[in-house]
């Protein structure tokens, strides 16, 4: 029998009724009576709000000037933010010494960048010690006394840089603590386990604000008489403990995500408990926990704003102070809050995007 040659039918363009902008509108905005009504309602709402909002935010906003008197138009007074911008980012840190704060921020960025680009074998040897050293290096620079620089009392530290550095310094030191607590919780030493569980549950169950309060009213009682401990240091201790509890839970779920084969492999090459834990298990736990670590960091980063309650001059506290400044009594709360909101939103949103992308990468790498 002769064999016919198979000639595929040519692909035809999709009917216009199913592609193209009109079809898109029909499918996505007007697909049912309910959707038609909803679309119209939303659109009319937007038309009602947006023009006024845009006008207030941008068009009739006041952008230039240095004093409140420059705010003549009806719109937002962005001059307020401008005039206070140094305070907002650096608190009352002396103007001439700002390079020290910038250096710390730069070092933080470098260390984070390093940990992403270094090859795995170097990452553990270089990035981890660098991370752990970072908070203390920053302390030395910011404080300045021991480096022969001008001494800057912690009362002058503040602004958004304080939010960032405090959050980063806390989570970094919380790493080893959290890891220890997680190990304790997993271990089958009954006493170590119950101590870990109590620590973790206490610091997770207590409102962070209550912890800050305890830091300011109770912690001083715990130190020997006559010893005064710096307020910021107390806050740092509190944040570390708080973070450690959350990190411990993050690590615990990381431990559970690691295949049992890894433990067995480590056993089979005859490594001791600590060697095995640190060289085989720890790097993997960090890797699978990355999205959760980021989520925890976002949480503590947002929580640094709570410090305004105990009058630590972080970003929002600076704004609140500026609002009561006698030269700026024009009621710029909305501008101030919107600005802080924008700053936090930008940081947290980009971090959560990063976390989602890491998560996706992990998800695919696990499938293979």
């Amino acid at each position: 029998m002769p064999i016919k040659e198979f000639k595929p039918l040519p692909a035809q363009p999709a009917p216009v009724s199913t592609t193209g902008p009109i079809a898109w509108l029909k499918n996505n905005l007007f697909s049912s009576p309910f959707n038609i009504v909803a679309t119209l309602l939303i659109l009319s709402g937007l038309f009602l709000i947006l023009p006024g909002l845009i006008d207030w935010l941008f068009i009739s906003a006041n952008w230039t000037g240095t004093t409140q008197d420059a705010c003549v138009d009806d719109g937002a007074c962005w001059v307020f933010i401008r005039a206070w911008s140094q305070q907002i980012f650096y608190g009352s840190y002396p103007s001439g010494e700002l390079w020290r704060v910038n250096l710390c921020l730069f070092l933080l960025a470098v260390v984070i960048y390093l940990s992403f680009i270094l090859p795995i074998n170097l990452r553990n040897k270089v990035a981890i010690p660098a991370f752990l050293a970072l908070p203390f290096v920053c302390l030395l620079f910011l404080d300045g006394r021991y480096l022969g620089l001008e001494y800057v009392n912690t009362d002058y530290w503040g602004g958004f840089s304080l939010n960032i550095l405090l959050a980063a310094a806390s989570i970094i030191i919380a790493f080893p603590f959290g890891f220890l607590w997680a190990l304790g919780r997993r271990s089958n030493l009954p006493f170590a386990q119950s101590v870990s569980v109590i620590c973790i549950e206490f610091f997770r169950g207590t409102p962070v604000l209550a912890l800050f309060f305890m830091g300011s009213v109770m912690l001083p009682l715990f130190f020997p008489e006559g010893v005064t401990v710096d307020k910021l240091l107390r806050v740092w201790i509190i944040l570390i403990l708080f973070m450690s509890a959350y990190m411990a839970e993050v690590f615990r779920s990381g431990f559970q995500a690691i295949p049992n084969g890894q433990y067995e492999a480590a056993d089979s090459i005859g490594l001791g408990y600590w060697q095995k834990t640190f060289f085989i298990i720890f790097p993997q736990v960090i890797k699978v926990s990355m999205p959760n670590i980021l989520a925890t960091f976002i949480m503590v980063f947002k929580n640094t704003v709570f410090l305004l309650v105990i009058a630590v001059p972080e970003i929002l506290q600076v704004i609140l102070g500026a609002l009561t400044n006698s030269k700026w009594l024009g009621g710029h709360a909305t501008e101030g809050f919107l600005f802080v909101a924008l700053v936090f939103w930008a940081c947290c949103y980009s971090m959560s995007m990063l976390s989602t992308s890491i998560e996706k990468k992990l998800d695919t790498s696990h499938k293979h």
Binding site: L189, P207, A210, E264, F344
Partner: protein, 404 residues
Amino acid sequence: MFYQKTIEQIKTDTRPSSAGAKAFYNNPKYRGWIYQSLLLIFLIAFFYSIISNTLSNMAAQGIKSGFGFMTTSAGFDVLMSLIPFETTDSYTKVFIIGILNTILVSIIGVICSTMLGFIFGIAYFSRNWLIKKISIIYVETFRNIPVILQVLFWYTAVLTTLPSTRDSLSIGEAFFLNIRGLYIPRLIDEPKSFVVYIAIVIAIVAIFFLRRWARKRQDLTGEQFPLIWSSLGILLGLPLLALFIAGVPFHFEYPELKGFNFQGGINVIPELMALAIAMSIYTGAFIAEAVRAGIQSVPHGQTEAARSIGLKERKIMSLIIVPQAMRVITPMLNSEYQSLVKNTTIATAIGYPELFTVFAGSALNQVGQAIEMMFMSLAIYFALNMMISFIMNQFNKRVAITTR
């Protein structure tokens, strides 16, 4: 997917791990005991120094200890209280008022954030592009802004810009909104109003029996009964009927402007409003995200299989999707509710008199017994969170899948 799994695991209890056990068999057993003994010695030293330092510090500063202060009179006024309070009342009463105010704002927060969360979480799956985008924008905006900032925004930037009492915004001379908050009419009982309350109770009982009857009938004959609509009908109809039979045995006490202030009605103070609004919106964003994740965790194949046996879309939702999604959503709800209760402490920033503000704040400032008062407050937060956990676990048991 991966993220959800780990989140779930965070919430499950430690599962006994064979790996951990093996690790220790490798080491001589006594090592573990050495570690534990070291830990014990460290803890003893640690607590010994803390306690001795604290005692000597307290002695030096003349701080008393014990709970004697609970019976002394507070001497300050509380901004808002659900039970009558006078400045001469004791700290015990302040404590109780604080707890009640915390519970009040928590309950409002839980209800409103759940509604917001479910509405926006489901809106994510809308076929309407605009609705979907609004859901995404809501979640991504509000969960990425510190909640304390949101509270301050509502309080300072919105509510304090409201008009004075004289120029109140009003609806029908019954609802007033001004710088002192929201004033709404108060419902006042009359002698015969018990009839209506009884009708409500009867309606609830009737619905309970109706459900049982409808289920039984469906088991026996296969016929379905429009339960939701008939329940709603009974719940509204019966009390309404009773209302008119008894001749509307209620009246409203309307807020009225007397001098510079309103009297009568119920006053929702701006502090409460700001706190409730901000908490609901903030937690709502997290709940919306949980709901979205929960619904997305149900594979599309489930819907397809349900369609292929001819189930209607609404039944697919209630019989297939919701039960499976709730299994993922409930543990997340549990932790969101607990965060909400803990977050009510930010009321301190605006002065809403919840437990933390009024007891661990104002009262502590006067009494100075930080340790007792802090731990009393913390105990309440732990108790509240345990209660939430208990309720959610009961709920989870009802929706959980027994296997898999």
